[in-house]
């Protein structure tokens, strides 16, 4: 599954700019949110793999839903879209390409994390 998302910027920079604008001078909202996201997404990825192995589709739906929201918060719109597809597949019991979607999720997440680490260092 090659796509547009593989090559272009994995982050919506306007969302990053928005997070920067929330800086209140005390602690960087951007750094806090990005750090939290790095933890949440790592745990979420592990859970998704385990849940797919177990065939626990209700759990996959919930995890994908949470990761969709979290990804959108840090501007990872491509990854959020992959999460939305996973969530829909799980809910509608269309499980045939779930494994492929999870691969796509892993790849996109790697790109997002790399981009975010640069953002966080820059901040």
């Amino acid at each position: 599954m090659s796509s547009h998302t593989d090559t272009c910027d994995p982050l919506d920079r306007s969302q990053i700019d928005f997070l920067v604008s929330l800086d209140d001078g005390e602690g960087s909202a951007l750094a806090e949110i990005v750090n939290e996201y790095l933890t949440v997404s790592d745990e979420g990825r592990t859970e998704l793999h385990r849940q797919l192995r177990d065939g626990d589709w209700n759990a996959i739906e919930r995890t994908a839903h949470t990761l969709k929201g979290a990804s959108a918060n840090v501007g990872a719109t491509g990854l959020a879209a992959v999460c939305a597809s996973l969530e829909t597949r799980a809910r509608e019991a269309r499980h045939d390409d779930a494994a492929a979607l999870l691969d796509q999720f892993d790849a996109e997440l790697m790109r997002v994390r790399a981009a975010l680490e640069i953002v966080a260092t820059g901040a």
């Binding site: 928005f18 997070l19 929330l22 929201g69 918060n73």
Partner: protein
Amino acid sequence: MQILVADDDPTSRLLLRAIVAKLGHECLVAEEGSSAWDVLSSGGIDVLLTDWMMPGLDGPELCRRVRHAQGDSYTYVVLTTGLDHPEHVLEGMSAGADDYLIKPVDSFAVQTRLIAAARVTGLHTRLAQTQAELERVNLELLERSLTDGLTGLGNRRRMDEDVAHTHARALRVGRTYGVALFDIDHFKLYNDRYGHVAGDETLRRVAACIDLVVRAGECAYRYGGEEFLLLMPDCSPAAVLVTAERICRTVLDAGIAHGARPSEPPFVTLSGGVSCWTPGSPLSAREVIEQADEALFQAKAAGRNRIETAPSLGGQLQAAAAVG
């Protein structure tokens, strides 16, 4: 405003908290529905920004609880949800949410909701204040409608209610009650000599004397122009007489000069008639008062500044004396 963010996703909590803080509001956070409900229950939350899907209590359930428990203050509820779930918005609004936000949220969207929230919560606060004020004024008006404006004693309306209530209770539980009716001696001559303003002041002073003697559970009323009635629930016939005589003496001891009366002493005095209702008596409440009035008439005829007893009470007193 004090704002509570309820979301199980930590990035969403941080983002909303940063936005809310940037807009100058105080922000609390809860990681799931149950702890959000704990915070809401302790009060003081103006706005709840809640996620739809949470462990424990979900968004709609939280909405329902907030609306069910609503007291004097209003919590404005905004549901946060994904764009792909319009049915969530409808269910949430039906459950009691005021508005919704599509994730990921931005400052502008939050700011617009908070402006509406401030208006709505402010309106509810003013409404609650107005209602409390109305209730207070209503109570005050009720109290005034039962009080004699000049003397501060109960008025005729309160007397009618209390007498009816006391009589009904005495019938039901078989208790005695007493009534004493007083009249200021030669009050017309007093007014003619000293004027009505002084007359009013004397009515106030006599009322104060009566009030001084009255004990908890008993109640004094201004019955008519210069007439007063004392109602004594759960009171023995002998005690009714003792109290009436004490009132009579207290007024005399007040030493209010009355130089216009044709007889001694040269002070304001009371005549009084007392009566009593005892278990088994066929008398109605009205007849008990009529008997006190007749006794009062006898006190006047016998030379004033004295208490006379109604036949019902006299019999009781004689019986008590015979036993004693």
